[in-house]
């Protein structure tokens, strides 16, 4: 048995500098496609084939930038980490159907750039001219905590001063016919958070990501089935905090994610911990240092004041 030295669990504190939210109906998605040039400076041809989640992501990111006191070029070298739930499902259903009826020549060339898991990050990167790394994370249910983990990984080398975390999905989950046509009245949501490890003092809120030690890894795994151990997926947490829908449970992860928004935002953005237990301890039982909230929060609540296209 290898004698691995127990490594001290680390807690990573990150500041949230801006955020935006969009909720688009299918008809509103069509409007966004048509206004690609005026809204985002993009060719309408590009957005013609984009997934609805990419459209919602663009709206959310642009809203965040517009409402941020920071200049848009502040984000130029930031990373983009997108986590789109079931991206491209309707489009790929159409591809399967077209292939069945028309053969190889019926298969769209757009499915690869737009519907693979990096499609949203790539589209946002182009729209806001970001040159940091852009990646898609996960893709299925409840993989938003993985997006946070990925974002934290990107900061490690110091090459990126910040990252956009863009979470998107349909609520309720879109129902589609066999041909891929939507048959439910769902809305496509996206939340964009501008997150930086360097600017905690000026942030609107904070995220904490806590590691675990080697000694309790097995315990954490056993604990995974415990109801107390379960926490909601981050995207649903954010959406539900805002819209009051039913929470969904998430698979657990051996890293703990906590999110709080600054005092000024509490009335609309309920600062519930993602974990059911709200103990002021990390997973190893070590006392947690108190969070340092910004002393001067923004006077305006961007969520309260935002047009969400509802």
């Amino acid at each position: 048995m290898t004698n691995y030295p127990p490594s001290e669990p680390q807690t990573l504190d990150l500041g949230i500098l801006a955020y935006g939210h969009a909720a688009l109906s299918i008809d509103q998605c069509k409007d966004v496609r048509k206004s690609a040039d005026s809204r985002f400076g993009l060719s309408p041809l590009l957005l013609k084939h984009s997934d609805e989640q990419a459209l919602a992501a663009l709206v959310a990111v642009f809203q965040a930038i517009e409402q941020s006191p920071l200049p848009s070029d502040h984000f130029a070298d930031w990373a983009i980490v997108s986590c789109a739930r079931f991206l491209g499902r309707a489009a790929f259903a159409r591809v399967l159907e077209k292939f069945k009826t028309d053969g190889a020549w019926g298969v769209s060339v757009h499915v690869i750039p737009h519907c693979t898991a990096h499609g949203v990050a790539g589209t946002v990167s182009m729209a806001i001219k970001n040159h940091g790394p852009s990646i898609g994370i996960g893709g299925g249910q409840d993989s938003e905590d993985n997006a946070l983990l990925a974002m934290a990984s990107i900061f490690e080398s110091g090459a990126c001063p910040g990252a956009w975390m863009v979470l998107s999905g349909w609520s309720p989950e879109l129902q589609i016919a066999e041909c891929g046509a939507p048959i439910s009245d769902s809305k496509c949501h996206a939340i964009a958070l501008a997150i930086s490890p360097q600017e905690l003092g000026a942030s609107l809120g904070q995220l904490q990501i806590c590691g675990i030690s080697a000694t309790n890894a097995a315990l954490a795994a056993d604990d995974r089935t415990s109801p107390e151990r379960q926490y909601v997926g981050l995207f649903d947490f954010l959406i539900d905090s805002y819209f009051g829908n039913t929470w969904m449970s998430s698979s657990s992860a051996p890293l703990q994610v906590r999110l709080r928004f600054a005092e000024a935002l509490r009335p609309t953005f309920n600062p519930r911990w993602l974990r059911a237990d709200q103990a002021q301890q990390d997973l190893t039982g070590h006392p947690r240092a108190p969070l340092h909230w910004p002393t001067a929060a923004r006077p305006v609540n961007p969520l309260q004041d935002s047009a969400t296209h509802d």
Binding site: Q10, S108, H118, G211
Partner: protein
């Protein structure tokens, strides 16, 4: 800073389902590209590829469970088990925090497509989804750490390496499995890439169709498979008497923000990714001995990569370079991983695998090619470029271990 080394390798490829077999074939200049016979391709613009046969269950796993998986899950699991066994850590894995980060670009599409072919309709009932390929591997191998799927088109595998580096340096995991696996040789993917005019149409000559950096290149040829690596802290590996295959020195990552398919012709961001990797590894350009190029054999892509390399290394100091895609085919989101394995081949055998089919080098790609025949050379630093659709630029730097 503590060094991070690769101490185990797992490979699934039509050139062999082990690092040794893959290496021997790469060094012999063997190509895996052939006519596709596994499904009807008469109406496909490209009818050639390197398509794998899914390997049987590793003896360390329950064969019945393995056999019930989708092919993408099987191949990734096979690689992970082989890598852990190769590192000598299979038996100990339950006692360790084993992270898993997989570069897979089309995880859901692979499963939706396979499910539909098996008569299912998972695509219409996504909430019935049993979880990602990476989660499947984590469950089957009983791994006990964070698990993430990362997608950045053809750069996905290098992004996975970058995440693993970070987790190890932060102390979040004891060891980390990182790699990529992609089974892109299926009817829809072959059709979509073919219709995009990204694939070679040299269907009558599969073995010579993929011609990176050659004047007569006409696009890429798809391949499939993957590679998974065990990464761990150097002192931990050495305490077990293992020097490791190589040190993972750095990963440079940028985005073009130019076009969803076409690379930025200025190659500025690709060059910056290379520079970033060199800087993060605390190296100078002249320290790089060998480059495994992205080189997909497209007209625009190869020229852009050559331009980026000239910006970084100058006209007269180009390191030795080859594109092993000419033999493996393009593994899409697993390309970076199989090409990292090719770099390990160069370290392990002191021989650089060649670019085959490089008969008439394109004057716009006048680099220091290892053309057609492997070249004996003892290298200390290898660099692997992976530049994905959508301008996802990544450069991995590996250094001779210890």
């Amino acid at each position: 800073m503590t060094d991070i080394v690769i101490s185990g390798v797992g490979v699934v490829s039509d050139l062999g389902n082990s690092f040794t077999q893959l290496s021997q074939n790469l060094l012999a200049g063997v190509t895996a590209i052939r006519a596709v016979t596994e499904f009807p391709v008469a109406d496909h613009p490209c009818r050639i590829a390197s398509k794998i046969t899914v390997p049987p269950a590793p003896t360390l796993l329950d064969a019945e469970r393995y056999d019930g998986l989708f092919p993408g899950e099987q191949c990734t699991t096979f690689c992970a088990v082989q890598a852990l066994a190769d590192a000598g850590l299979w038996a100990e894995r339950r006692q360790l925090r084993v992270g898993l980060v997989m570069g897979i670009g089309a995880d859901l599409m692979l499963r939706w497509d396979e499910d539909r072919r098996r008569g299912g309709n998972l695509i219409a009932r996504p909430l019935d989804d049993r979880g990602s390929i990476a989660e499947c591997v984590k469950t089957l191998c009983e791994l006990n750490g964070p698990c993430v799927t990362v997608a950045a088109a053809c750069a996905s595998g290098n992004h996975a390496m970058a995440h693993a580096l970070s987790w190890l340096r932060r102390g979040w995991v004891d060891i980390c499995l990182a790699g990529g696996c992609d089974l892109g040789v299926n009817p829809c993917s072959l059709a979509s890439f073919g219709n995009l005019r990204a694939l070679s149409r040299n269907n009558d000559s599969p073995r010579t169709a993929f011609r990176p950096f050659d004047r007569d290149r006409d696009g890429m040829v798809l391949g499939e498979g993957g590679a998974v690596f065990v990464l761990e802290r150097g002192p931990d590996a050495r305490s077990r008497g293992r020097a490791g295959y190589a040190e993972v020195a750095s990963v440079g990552l940028t985005s073009d923000a130019h076009h969803l398919v076409i690379p930025d012709p200025s190659a500025r961001q690709a060059g910056l990714a290379i520079q970033q990797a060199i800087r993060l590894a605390d190296l100078k350009p002249q320290d790089v001995d060998y480059i495994n190029a992205h080189a997909t054999g497209t007209q625009a892509g190869d020229i852009c990569e050559a331009r980026a390399l000239k910006c970084v290394f100058g006209d007269d100091a180009q390191p030795l370079i080859s594109s092993t895609k000419s033999m493996t085919g393009h593994y899409l989101s697993a390309a970076a991983s199989i090409e990292a394995a090719a770099c390990l081949t160069a370290f392990a055998y002191d021989v650089i695998p060649p670019t085959i089919n490089l008969v008439n080098p394109d004057p716009q790609c006048d680099l220091n090619h290892v053309a057609n025949v492997a070249l004996p050379a003892r290298i200390n630093v290898a660099m692997s470029n992976s530049f994905g659709f959508g301008g996802h630029n990544s450069t991995l730097i590996l250094r001779r271990a210890g």
